[in-house]
Symmetry: C2
Subunit: 374 residues, 2 copies
């Protein structure tokens, strides 16, 4: 029942009031709660303010949630899946529809607005579709609204449970004195809480093993320095920050003996779509004989698509040409700024899920994991 214990700890540090913006000035002595349903509103940590300020934002309009996903107030595949579900719950509450048909129409519109914010991350589609299915199956307006909120809240709780199970499976792969590299943020801040890749790191530490973590900065949005370094330090886990350019150096120098990352989408073949830069971290790991693990819930798997079907989002050039107000590149320079890259299965040692670990050959192994869940 570790799960309930953690929820309680989280609530100790949590403050809310009626204002739209709630600032937490006291230090929270627990893992962070990224997104939450509270009094018919969605409350999120504004991750664009980290690591300078820990600020919570509260939304009652689904369009604000869509905007939050688009502008990376909330990010990380599992977190945006749940945020999408909560967005639809808000849309249901906002709808003035008197009939089921009209409400479904409103929800469909909201679904499209929410989906278009981050099309590559499969969890967003997963979260939205799960809610739409519940809505379609319900009998009337009151029931739809009630069941959508109930389902979205349950999905959030299950996300933490999933991560803790993933942690349990994953921790077995790590040993005392491991030096673990991670890229981007697949942490509490990428999920509802606890984290996927960082959940495995948390579970490894909780199992009594001594570990060191090396976090890559993860340009351009710097989720590694802003979020991973922040949340691991917050939890008292030994973490060092490196620029993305020092991945090869760190591996060559023996500062790293394992790598773990999250994922935004995993195909049935084991192709992993994750934050730009993951591919080269995986390739460098392979060349240095360092095991490379991916941690992601089954909701991250896209069993239908082939690699050629997946479109990789290009993000705004300003992410690369300026930091805050500070210009870091000449005016009008051409920029290539892909959000994700694809890591092929041959570079991956194992994929850690809540029901077990997939190993090569992945197509078979992934199939088995899905069967075990049914």
């Amino acid at each position: 029942m570790l799960f309930f214990e953690i929820r309680i700890i989280i609530n100790i540090g949590y403050e809310t009031d009626n204002s739209k913006l709630v600032k937490l000035k006291t230090k929270i002595h627990s893992s962070l709660r990224t997104v939450e349903w509270k009094n018919n509103a969605v409350v999120m940590i504004d991750q664009t303010k980290l690591p300078n300020k820990l600020v919570f934002v509260k939304y009652t309009d689904y369009k604000d949630v869509a905007n939050a996903i688009r502008t990376l107030v909330v990010r990380g595949a599992p977190a945006i899946g749940i945020s999408g579900a909560f967005g639809l719950a808000l849309a249901a509450l906002q709808s003035k529809a008197k009939s089921k048909e009209k409400l479904l129409e409103d929800l469909e519109k909201a679904r499209n607005t929410l989906f278009e914010t981050r099309p590559t991350a499969i969890n967003l589609a997963w979260g939205l579709d799960k809610i739409m299915k519940v809505a379609n199956k319900s009998n009337n307006v009151t029931e739809i609204k009630k069941l959508i909120i109930q389902t979205a809240k349950k999905m959030a709780e299950e996300d933490i449970e999933t991560n803790m199970n993933m942690g349990k499976h994953g921790a077995a792969l790590f040993e005392n004195n491991d030096r673990i590299m991670t890229h981007c943020n697949a942490g509490a801040l990428a999920t509802v809480g606890y984290g996927t890749a960082l959940g495995v790191i948390r579970a490894t530490k909780e199992s009594g093993k001594k570990i060191k973590v090396i976090a890559t900065e993860t340009r351009p949005v710097m989720q590694g320095s802003r979020l991973t370094a922040f949340e691991l330090k917050h939890d008292g886990i030994d973490v060092s920050l490196i620029p993305d350019t020092a991945v090869g150096y760190a591996m060559f120098k023996g500062l790293v003996n394992k790598v773990i990352v999250g994922a935004d989408r995993i195909l049935r073949t084991g192709h992993v779509y994750n934050k730009i830069g993951t591919y080269q971290v995986a390739m460098m790991a392979k060349q240095h004989n360092i095991p490379f693990y991916v941690a992601a819930p089954l909701s991250t798997f896209d069993l239908k698509s082939n690699p050629e079907d997946v479109i990789i989002e290009q993000r705004n050039r300003s992410e690369v040409t300026q930091i805050g107000d500070r210009k870091t590149a000449p005016d009008d320079i051409d920029v290539i700024n892909p959000a994700f890259d694809m890591t092929p299965p041959e570079l991956i040692t194992g994929i850690i899920t809540e029901v077990g670990i997939a190993k090569p050959s992945f197509e078979e192994s992934i199939k088995k994991l899905f069967k075990s869940k049914m």
Copy 2:
């Protein structure tokens, strides 16, 4: 006599006055002159201000030159070699010594101050030693001062000539429609002018071939976005900027078919020390069957050291934890911030010098190049 033509073009755009800080408001329609001896002073482009402002600074105290090297006002192996030489010329002018012995003492002290600023880059030692040799061989105070200045100025002229020769040799390796990746800045701004790796790119374009350049941002100091993107755009060369995390993506997608970088130190075995991140660019190139070239003058070669002798500088943590005044990582986070990494010879296709191209096996090939010069 292309060499003289370029000097003249540079002077058209150049303005100077008696103030310590000279701002150029008009656009210079030519390749940039990074460091120059002018009226018994050293004039440099302040590269920390780029790409926002093109500012020239003027120094008459060698300690200011040392500080400029330390704080990256001037950077790039060849440019700091010449800056070191000019620093010693200033030290000679500043010395009140009446005897050769006393002047040599003053110069030795200045040499040490200048050397300690960037110990890994071999060109700094090369530039300082060349001047010290001239000083030691001269007969008296007046002659030493005169010859030091003369030698340093000649070294600056030779640097541009060297780069143009390097360009001539290197351009033959590149073809029409090549898509060339470069890391860091091995450009006009890393040398006295024209550049090493970017000199080859300039020469390729001047030879009539159509090329596209992809510049990596090069965290943490962002020489790629601030300097390479700036100077190539300035010269009308097609350039796109990518974050360092997108190297693998760009290669996988076929956006790159050749790589060229500069070097801070090259051993007789062909081990190349260059800006942090070079190693992983080279490794990724190898894995994608993309030729990886290094362009550097013979003054960059260290024929005495072995890989285990070379100490890689660790730079200030603040380069990784903040950009300008903007904090990008949590307080007191541990940081690993190496200035350089080592690329082993097996990842290198060729090393372009002013006297020809070294190819595997490098130890033999490099030996031949040095013999051809004697």
